[in-house]
């Protein structure tokens, strides 16, 4: 089947999409945007987090056909050209990246959190990030990055 949607501001028409295919597969394999990671395909790890019509979702749990005519923003769409988004910069500065596999999903999740609340409390940060797993950092540096990005946004 055919799916038409907008990804990071660019209109796309994709043919030959399988009926049961996920939005994550479509983004990575058909649009060629490998930023969103495929780690669990069951909504557990959050490494595939993208915006679907302004809502942060696990792309692995959206059927590609459900994204017909929608606007998708992936981690690749957050930077302004070569200029990293403040959330991305905060991850670098705080040392919140080790292997980096979880980073794209976390960046989108934190971007979404800070878009909704400029000054999140500890509990709020933990609740917002509960769906993103990181096997490397132990999370403390990630929380530092969130606080850094929040401070900068204020």
């Amino acid at each position: 089947m055919r799916v038409d949607l907008e990804v990071n501001g660019v209109r796309r028409s994709l043919d030959g999409v399988r009926e049961g295919e996920s939005l994550l597969h479509l983004l990575r394999e058909r649009v060629g945007l490998p930023g969103s990671k495929n780690a669990c395909e069951q909504g557990e790890c959050g490494s595939c987090t993208v915006y679907l019509d302004e809502t942060a979702v696990c792309a692995c749990l959206v059927a590609a056909g459900q994204a017909q005519d929608s606007r998708v923003v992936t981690v690749e769409g957050l930077a302004d050209g070569a200029e990293l988004h403040p959330v991305q910069r905060a991850f670098v500065e705080a040392g919140a990246v080790q292997c980096g596999f979880c980073t794209p999903g976390l960046v989108v999740t934190v971007h979404d959190l800070l878009a909704r609340t400029s000054d999140p409390g500890e509990a709020e940060i933990r609740e917002a990030l509960a769906g993103n797993l990181c096997r490397c950092t132990g999370y403390e540096k990630i929380f530092d990055a969130v606080r850094l990005a929040a401070g900068e946004a204020r």
């Binding site: 009926e19 959050g46 809502t55 942060a56 999740t109 609740e127």
Partner: protein, 285 residues
Amino acid sequence: MTGFHTAADLRHACELKAAHPDATLIAGGTDVMVGLNFGHTSPAALLDVSRVPELREWSREDDTIVLGAGVPYTRIVDELGGALPGLARAARTIGSAQIRNRATVGGNLGTASPAGDALPPLLAARASIELASLRGTRRVPARDFFLGPGRSVLADDEIVAAVRIPVAAGAEQFAKLGPRNAMVIAVASVAVTLDPPRRRVGCAVGSAAPTPVVAGDAETFAGAELDWDGRRELPASVTARFAELAAAATAPIDDVRGTAGYRRHAVAVLARRTLTWAWQEYRRS
């Protein structure tokens, strides 16, 4: 799989379901896509109801909230915490932010897992489920909806259109036990509602029987024993008996998340806590 159908509105969804009874409805996709990604299920077709406007709205009719089956949990938490505190509390424990942004009560009912966290609050509150098809609309009490794990009275041509839930008449509580504070399938869960005008208690248990179950004896006992007028502190004997009756309503199994004995104990503890919290809230109100 050979088909992907997108429903534009509820009527269209019913037409599509009637024409393709073997198509799998997909709303938030948080259960359906896991099955597809892992090849556990191979439905003939998908029928997308995630954009059906009637399913994505809620409204208030007198003392009832008519909750469209496709309203995601995030909105239930944000918009219905006042009218439906029990359901909103349960919704807040479901999955992660990303899951709650997509997942729906209609999907929880469709999956009909005994561990569905939205289900005990619906049973406790004596909600009813509105089922739509080309044949018409019928209402089924939530307490009569489930037949077994993954099985309900939903017919092949039917869609859950809405859930009709009484606006809370008093305190409502929900508690769920699991190994982590987020992203867990409940080992056991309990929902309790107080209805002081009717002197009635609602109590339902999740993850401790083939379906979510009503603890009817616990409800009757508490309704009669609670000091509705004096609002005196709950005697330990009442909470203990309530907990015992709630646990007796279950028929748990041993599985990877816990043994039957542990579950029965957990249900008793959660029942005692939820009743105590609800009663404290009532006394303060």
